[in-house]
Amino acid sequence: MLLVKIGGGESINLDGIARDLAGLSGSFIIVHGANALRDSLARRLGVEKRVLTSVSGYESVHSDRDLIDVMLMAYAGLRNKRIVELLQGHGVNAVGLTGLDGALVRGRRNRGIRVREGGKTLIRRDLSGKPVEVNRKLLGLLLGDGFAPVVTVPLIDEHNVAINSENDDVVALLSAELRADCVIQLIGAPGFLEDPDDPASVVARLSRAELARREGEVTGRMKRKLLALRRLAESGTTRVVIADGRVDRPVTEALAGRGTIIG
């Protein structure tokens, strides 16, 4: 079982990924983001996107109902269905689903984000949470009949409410529960970069210890990403590769190990 995480950047070669995947034998599941699309849609609709940095330095988006609406439009609507359309066009029988659909991915609501504001430490609650359970029956039903699930946030929480979550955590959960053989993360860069502004600074390999060390050194979005990657590495998947989602045949290149090997 191959798990393909497609990043939410606008530079990703979605058609190339669809064409490449169509050539594979064996089943796969796609998990995709759409953060660039969400941000531009939020701007155009005048929906404010507030970013919170927790006291321990992790960055997250304040997910209120309006932002979840924008995510439903950007992730579950536009990006999800355009990926399904591309895959169908290349002969892959894709089915687009969010965590809500058939309760595919159940999440647990975050208890509260601790932030520093106006010299005080405050608890901010929002509609976000961590993935805790996957509906393996629904996945099995679809995979068994040759469908290719294309999965994205939101998840469904313990109150049956739509919540935002980190797609990388969903990948880690899916990988552990389905014992994926390989997870490839296709992003808008040649791999994990030592220096985000230097495309030549691809790190060839990142061990779990190395991930933990770097996680301790940074704050914000990257800290969040490194944590999710560490979880993925700890999920027991045999092979995790971060590779360039913009090239002609992103999946083939990733499977050949061109990019950053994790673990």
Binding site: L52, Y58, S63, R111, I123, S165
Partner: protein
Amino acid sequence: MPECPVCGAEPMISDDPVEGELLECEECGVELEILALDPVTLGEAPDAEEDWGE
């Protein structure tokens, strides 16, 4: 003055309390959260496991 829900003491409230503000009960040391204002209502703060969102 609002009481600590755990030990009943009256914790010190800042002069510009904000909803969601965290504070400590000097008596029993438990971490408290200001759940509401007018009147100030206190509750035990959620434990600080992963303290960030998505």
